[in-house]
């Protein structure tokens, strides 16, 4: 068991100090350019005095606990207090740079201070948003990129540009629900490629499905949309082979990089992708909802087509606004957090193999607990994995008065959080971003819990 009381208090004091500094900031916001009035001077002095006390408490781990509630919102401190193994949160956790950026750029339209003709987000040069868009395209080895409010809105922009009523779209049998929705909203129909015996989508199976659709409907599918790593097992699917199949059939290929863009190198050219979609809040250490949609110069005119609508009375036209993006997309802290995290994103994708090593290290330890299984492909090529503890922790749960929650309790007592509370059969976890020290600690904690409940460790 971890004695966390001092640390917990210090984390509370950190938030208390951050919040008190926001109170200071608000005094500036309410003041006149010529300076504070008497009341503001008093507020400033008393808040500074309060901050000094908080910093002293923070330093020494003393003082009374801070509440830090904001209205009905409890402060969220799980990233500070715990090691978080939540399957979808790990790589969306903000970098310190992103946290600083949103402190600075939280306000509504904060990207728009220097918006000039042609009045479009991706053309703004201060802050360097235009440059960031070019960097993003280069990062993915694509020609053009836009930011979008989540990967799902990237899928939607593509399907609505390419798919008409009744058209078929090839997806994986492990496709994410947002891909289903993107096809549905465009009026299309999903056609799933079967998995092989290792739960992987292959190029051959994709080609076969295309043939099936062709013979059934008389027409080729309009789009192939495949996840490089799926959300269920995070197995690697053969996007390189599928890229070739797509080219052979002349069908555009959307590479779903929700679990890759921002954590591992993604080379759109090498993949042969016509579209790449990534998620800011899932894998790019950004505020939600955010994401990236990249394409080639060949497809850009269609995907990023600009408005043709003309006011019947006024003759108004809004020339450069892109229809599928609905004009500007991420006009504030969402985009600024992406930009601020980007240098570190580039660094960390280069270290992907090390992340995979840590994932395998953890699971190798986990597998020592008799009865535990990894349902994802093995060895792991990703940090997200699906495990099965029906033969280990679930055996304990069966007779424990807290049922499956015993496991959550034990993890929490050791400072680990993010498992699906109460689940002890099949569940998912993500080791992304943990240091070696944290990974070893996490693995040891699992073994420790197993050992406490007399599960055999091999």
């Amino acid at each position: 068991m971890v004695n966390k009381s001092k640390k917990t208090l210090q984390i509370q004091k950190t938030y208390e100090a951050l919040f008190a500094l926001e109170d200071i900031r608000e005094i500036f916001r309410q003041s006149l350019p010529v300076g504070f009035d008497e009341k503001q001077k008093e507020q400033f002095s008393s808040t500074i005095a309060r901050i000094k006390g908080i910093i002293s408490d923070l330093e020494n781990g003393e003082g009374k606990p801070a509440c830090n509630r904001v209205g009905k919102l409890d402060p969220r401190t799980r990233e500070e207090e715990f090691i978080n193994i939540h399957p979808i949160q790990a790589a969306g956790r903000l970098t310190p740079e992103a946290r600083k950026a949103i402190i600075s750029y939280g306000d509504g339209y904060s990207t728009c201070d220097y918006c000039r003709k042609p009045f479009r987000l991706d053309k703004i040069t201060r802050p360097p948003i235009e440059e960031f868009h070019q960097d993003l395209a280069k990062f993915l080895n694509m020609d053009q990129a836009r930011v979008v409010p989540g990967a799902r809105r990237g899928f939607q922009a593509v399907t609505q540009s390419l798919v008409e009523k009744g058209d078929s779209v090839i997806v994986s049998s492990l496709a994410h629900y947002t891909e289903f929705l993107a096809v549905e909203v465009a009026g299309g129909v999903v056609r799933e490629v079967p998995l092989n015996e290792r739960n992987v989508v292959t190029a051959d199976a994709t080609a076969q499905k295309i043939e099936d659709v062709k013979s059934e409907t008389g027409r080729l599918p309009k789009l192939i949309m495949i996840d490089h790593f799926d959300y269920q097992f995070a197995n690697e699917h053969d996007v390189y082979g599928i890229g070739k199949v797509a080219k052979d059939y002349g069908i555009p290929f959307l590479y779903n990089g929700a679990y890759t863009v921002g954590v591992m190198p993604v080379d759109g050219g090498k993949i042969g992708a016509d579209f790449i979609v990534g998620s800011g809040h899932k894998s790019m250490a950004s505020v939600a909802p955010s994401g990236v949609l990249a394409t080639t110069d060949e497809w850009a005119p269609k995907l990023f087509r600009t408005t043709q609508m003309v006011g019947d009375l006024t003759g108004r036209k809004f020339g450069v606004k892109e229809v599928e993006n609905m004009g500007c997309t991420l006009m504030g802290a969402t985009l600024l957090s992406m930009i601020a995290s980007f240098p570190r994103i580039k660094e960390r994708t280069a270290n992907w193999e090390e992340e995979v090593k840590k994932s395998n290290y953890f699971l190798n330890q986990f597998l020592r607990i008799q009865g535990s299984k990894v349902l994802s492909e093995w060895p792991r090529r990703h940090t997200l994995s699906k495990v099965d503890t029906t033969g280990s922790f679930d055996v304990v749960a069966k007779t424990h008065k807290r049922r499956g929650f015993f496991f959550s309790d034990e993890l929490k007592d050791r400072g680990i959080i993010g498992e699906f509370a109460g689940a002890t059969r099949t569940w998912k976890l993500n080791t992304y971003g943990q240091s070696w020290e944290q990974i070893k600690y996490t693995a040891a904690s699992f073994l420790d819990i197993a050992s406490k409940y007399k599960l055999r460790i091999n």
Copy 2:
């Protein structure tokens, strides 16, 4: 001229302290649950020491200037250093509560810690997101509400649900470009209602336009979409009358509240709106992109229809996910900022008349500068206004070596920012959220500039 050096330094020190506390926070994030290692202890001590120095500098307005750059991003301090009259930024500026919420909930999927069946954002009870959705609907006197990534995505959800290829949609001759795009993306055609001599859309003109469309196309328009206050003049359009016309013709009515929801009371029932759309980053003190889409129980099944798509191979269905919202919408700081600002939003809408008074006070002073005009309806019913200074400040600009930028320079020297830099003919400003002291200061500054350049003041 304002001597801002001490204040500027103090603002820099405030940011420096906030950023240093984020560095503290990062040490916690990198540490083990059992506590800091030696290196982390050192980092903690040295960062605490640094913070103490910063707080002391902040208190006394001393010390060397702080850079506070985050990578390529300059810190944005215009809300602290200046009175900001930017037309679209005023009501999207975050409340202190929202700023605290995003410090706490900045990380990617930070809303999803306690996501349980049926796995949909608006059903999450911790934080109280479900309750917030109910509050939002009540606040607008509608039956149901969802959050969306910007008002534009609300328009889009409605048009894509109701409008088919070639269908007509009634919009204002002052419709925002995002309304054009929403109609275009759904395959519809905009049909603009003419303005009357006061640049206002009336119920009669709307009815006439419906008749015109009917006689030209043989069919009624599928939707009426009208801004309560438009983005150009912020004139008030007769949404109550238009609501009745819509009912008479049996055409659904989308009330565009981008400039109202969050600043003034909006009663969907009284208006007779079938859909209400509002903007989080424009008028609800929230992080972009965010917004609200509300409707009646009558329209909800169509607008918020859930997915019907079935995997052809796996038989997978994703039952409760809403097609037009693409499942979950604002999974992080965007939504949490809305929730945190909401209590203050409710308060401030009740004080709308006072905001309008301040707007009129300012413009009455502004009009004392000979040659200045207000192009928006008069007296003002909104805080956003379009003015014409061709006969006043532009006369000065004509012979000034800085041209129109002289005016920006003079405003900036007085601690005012947010005008369209260099524009001295027709331009827009927004007085929203300024205290009476700030409004009086702003008005006096305009008169002071006029007087400096020998413009006549009446």
